[in-house]
Assembly symmetry: C2
Homo-oligomer: 148 residues x 2
């Protein structure tokens, strides 16, 4: 996803943000990560590239990127403070329970189910969350999954 780094910086600039080293580092880390990250993880990785990066800046940047729709929060068993590059399409997440690798997929067809539920419950459905968990190919091969 590294090719989007400049795109994100430009989108930030278009929103009135200045292009700072701290933001570049945070953006790059998010775009390079195959899995959703906690603010503290972004911070730790960021410090390796920018000696005195502040955790506050990570929070502020994540907030701004979420606001621009470039990252999304990911809900998870162990908490809901994970951030992942967002998808533009209508897609949902497939997450490896072992390594956290996140992949978007499309093609869910819930319209029949939703019509059914509207009929039986009287709810007007406006939104749906769907998230799949499993074991990714790499973790299946490595056999480490036994410990999961």
């Amino acid at each position: 996803m590294a090719q989007y780094s400049e795109t994100w910086m430009k989108l930030l600039a278009a929103d009135g943000c200045r292009q700072t080293p701290a933001r570049r580092v945070i953006v790059d880390i998010l775009l390079e990560s195959p899995r959703a990250l906690e603010p503290m993880e972004v911070f730790s990785a960021g410090r390796e590239r920018l000696a005195n990066l502040g955790l506050v800046t990570v929070y502020r940047t994540l907030e701004k990127l979420e606001e621009l729709g470039l990252v999304q929060r990911v809900h998870h068993h162990g908490g809901c403070n994970l951030y992942l590059r967002a998808t533009n399409a209508h897609e949902h997440l497939l997450i490896c329970s072992h390594c956290g690798k996140a992949e978007y997929f499309s093609g869910d067809n819930l319209s029949a189910l939703m019509a059914d539920i509207t009929r039986t419950t009287g709810f007007a459905i406006t939104e749906h969350w769907l998230q799949l968990f499993g074991t990714c190919p790499a973790c299946t091969r490595s056999g480490e999954v036994i410990h999961a």
Copy 2:
């Protein structure tokens, strides 16, 4: 759900827990609520019935009830610290975005989708989260939804 109050207390007892006023109050509140509650909400409601109930006891009881599978955590836009009576069947949640009313539904058929995803991604899918949001009949009628 009030009829389950004694059942829950017995299940707690079977797990080695003593039957205390604090637990009764917390159990009752959870069983009476049509929506998922935050620990602080359980505490506030509990204090009205048991003058010096402690917030710590609410946390401890929620933890125990979750461990026994009697309540489940509900993930939500504004946080993931909501607790709701759990369902025994394979069911998912339908939540009113306006009043929070939670209802379980069954009948989701995702097997075709999951087979498809397994084929294209190589993931071995082990779990799925599905949650629907909408407006419940009562909120639709009251017209308050306009403000949502």
